[in-house]
């Protein structure tokens, strides 16, 4: 290929990319840079920003509420990520063995919470957890499990657990669909050969299927981790971080500082810390996946 042709194709390639690139630079890269820069300033409304170096970061790690929010976020991630991965893998293994229409039906059922608006899902859960007439209290009392109503979302012993439960139901849909597809792509010749050689179901799964669905697992791990770290809407709609900050998450605390107290610099510093944590965890997940 002549150099002129190569140059012409390169130029056309860049021209085709240009609209997307402009959008990416303007709406992704620029805000990211701005976020990092602002985190070094005392920034609020209608006043010039004041440079304070690492002041926001120093304050962060002495802020008990932020540390509590960090702890809650880590608990959410530690509980929800493995549960989502294991549960969705189990469900999709069962679904995969079902006949076509039945498999599609259950895929739809599990995917429904994903496509339903988060506000609608949250309102239904709020009703089920209601302290006065919620279905959980009704069933619990009728089954003799509890003798008086539990204030599920208003009691710090239960509130975070309730949030995690709701998060799980809204998080498993997509992994199930992905796993069902991944299992469909497993080489059946290998599976049948292993079965003929007398391999057990567990051996077939662990030695044949698992290595082939590992890239999907990695993707699900990374996405679920990021989503769990960014848990916000549930908190905003159900508990506002309460009771006693027991359901505060980093994302909610960022929102509170930036948009309620107008502490943009402080909120951005939290955003940077959250981004670093997610990036490090994702890198570890990638690394661990490659070393296998």
């Amino acid at each position: 290929m002549s150099r002129a042709l190569v140059r012409r194709e390169t130029v056309s390639g860049y021209l085709f990319m240009l609209p997307c690139l402009i959008f990416f630079l303007g709406f992704v890269i620029y805000p990211m840079v701005q976020c990092i820069v602002t985190s070094f300033f005392d920034s609020t409304m209608n006043r010039d920003d004041i440079f304070i170096g690492l002041g926001n970061y120093a304050e962060l790690f002495q802020d008990k509420i932020f540390l509590g929010a960090l702890r809650n976020t880590v608990i959410i991630v530690i509980v929800s990520v493995p549960v989502v991965c294991i549960f969705s893998l189990w469900v999709s293994s069962v679904l995969y063995d079902l006949s076509g229409p039945l498999c599609s039906l259950f895929r739809c059922v599990f995917y429904l919470p994903v496509v339903t608006g988060s506000v609608a899902v949250t309102v239904v859960w709020k009703w089920m957890f209601n302290n006065y007439y919620g279905i959980f209290n009704y069933l619990g009392k009728n089954a003799g499990l509890i003798d008086k109503n539990i204030n599920w979302l208003g009691d710090e012993r239960f509130a975070l657990g309730c949030i995690i439960l709701i998060l799980l139901t809204t998080s498993v849909g997509q992994p199930i669909v992905l796993y069902v597809s991944a299992l469909g792509n497993v080489d059946q010749a290998l599976v049948e050969a292993a079965e003929v050689d007398g391999a057990t179901r567990l051996q077939v799964f662990w030695k044949i299927k698992w290595p082939q669905i590992k890239p999907t697992t990695l993707y699900i791990l990374v996405i679920t981790t990021i989503n769990s770290f960014q848990c916000f809407a549930l908190i905003q709609l159900l508990t506002s971080g309460g009771p006693n900050h027991s359901t505060d998450t980093i994302m909610y605390y960022i929102y509170y500082n930036a948009f309620k107290l107008y502490r943009y610099g402080y909120g951005n510093a939290m955003g940077v810390v959250l981004a670093i944590i997610i990036a490090v965890l994702s890198a570890i997940q990638f690394k661990a996946s490659k070393s296998d």
Binding site: N131, G242, N244
Partner: protein
């Protein structure tokens, strides 16, 4: 040929003249924007359009465009507009935003020239005090007001023989009467008499008014510089509430949820109430609602109020600022227009206009509460942080934290925010 030339000349002349007329007209008209929060029907274009039409008829030189905000996203919209230099000319809201927030940030116009001696004499003192900052700069010109009350389920009170503890005539009761009534309802079998809701800031004026009134406490000092929730009166009130059978500190609900629970009969009292709630829920309620002032030892309730009026953003354009002031003057001072503008809000005027709701029994009944309007302390600095700290404090008390400790923590947080 000549005829065609004359015709062409005439048409050209007509076009030039009409263009000149349009230009001249455009030069004479000042366009201003009004952003309004949903204060009663001020969030409903069908109601507001009539008011705007009257104004534009009286002042054809000014054109008003209206944008309707809601309380969920309104603040974000306004703040974004301020940051982008696109703030509206006029905004309708209360002093906690106009004076304490945007006024304090220096983005509002001083409206002192609208506050003539005549206006000051006519407008109630408590309202006048709320519309200015501590330096006497007026950032709001008021239109309407209401007093937030509480309400009780009259049928349930009657069944529990608790009506004896309140005065239906004056809508008042004593702290002792309140204690006895709650006990009577609880003994009658009403497990959930009332809820000190603290799931968020929605309707939080109700819980503050309850605590402050029981033993005569205040939320801030008279100068609105310091939070005084840690006073012995407030601590005594919180300890009383925390120890009462039938009253739950509920961190899973906010004011709106409490109203729903009251309306569906789950709770016997609502601490977050006003006339708008009674109107909105009229079709859902199957019992008699009795609006009440908050109980006090002294018999002199101090109700939290809502005061709504107009503020002008400083957009640096004198013509638009003047037009905005003309608009405010017309809406709030024109004899005919002010009545209509207040009626659209479904509240009451900030000055004596007689009974503008003649023949409306409900509005006349609720008008009795306006006399109890207390200090409008929402203009205190650090308000946003203090509001959050308040319901967090109630959550702590509900979880068993010692009242004195929780209140001390609140005061430390709120006063630190006030000092910034």
């Amino acid at each position: 040929m000549r005829l065609r030339r004359i015709l062409a000349l005439a048409m050209t002349g007509a076009m030039v003249l009409s263009a000149a007329a349009v230009t001249a007209n455009a030069e004479e008209t000042t366009d201003i924007t009004l952003w309004t929060y949903p204060v009663g029907n001020w969030g409903d274009s069908a109601a507001v359009d009539g008011l705007i039409a009257s104004f534009e008829e009286a002042h054809p030189e000014i054109h008003v465009s209206v944008e309707y905000l809601d309380y969920t996203n309104g603040d974000d919209q306004v703040n974004t507009a301020i940051e982008g230099g696109e703030a509206p000319d006029v905004i309708l809201e209360g002093p906690e935003r106009l004076v304490a927030n945007w006024g304090a940030k220096g983005v509002m116009v001083d409206l002192s020239d609208l506050w003539t001696d005549e206006a000051k004499e006519a407008i109630y003192d408590s309202v006048e005090a709320a519309c200015q900052n501590n330096d006497g700069v007026f950032y709001e010109y008021p239109l309407c007001m209401t007093a937030h009350t509480m309400a009780v389920n009259r049928d349930l009170f009657e069944a529990a023989d608790a009506l004896q503890y309140l005065d239906e005539e004056t809508h008042t009761w004593t702290t002792e009467g309140f204690i006895n009534a709650v006990q009577a309802l609880y003994d009658y079998g009403q497990e959930n008499v009332a809820a000190v809701f603290c799931g968020g800031q929605g309707g939080d004026q109700g819980t503050r008014a309850l605590v402050n009134n029981l033993y005569g406490g205040t939320f801030t000092d008279a100068e609105h510089t310091k939070y005084t929730a840690d006073s012995p009166e407030n601590i005594k009130a919180l300890e009383l509430l925390a120890g009462m059978d039938g009253i739950n500190f509920d961190a899973s609900i906010v004011g709106g949820d409490e109203i729903n629970l009251f309306v569906n009969g789950t709770l016997a009292m609502a601490f977050c109430w006003n006339v708008a709630q009674e109107k909105t829920n009229a079709d859902l309620v199957d019992f008699d609602i009795l609006p009440m002032a908050f109980p006090t030892e002294s018999g002199d309730p101090q109700l939290c109020g809502g005061i709504w009026g107009f503020g002008v953003f400083d957009n640096g354009d004198e013509a638009r600022i003047e037009a905005a002031k003309t608009f405010i003057d017309f809406m709030a001072n024109d004899e005919t227009q002010v009545v209509e503008a207040v009626k659209v809000s479904s509240y009451w005027p900030v000055k004596d206009l007689g009974n503008i709701y003649e023949g409306d029994d409900l509005m006349t009944e609720y008008a009795a509460f306006v006399q109890y309007l207390g200090d409008y302390y929402q203009v205190v600095p650090g308000w946003a942080e203090a509001r959050t700290a308040w319901w967090n404090m109630l959550q702590q008390i509900g979880s068993g934290t010692d009242v004195t400790t929780a209140v001390a923590e609140f005061s430390e947080t709120a006063n630190a925010a006030a000092a910034q």
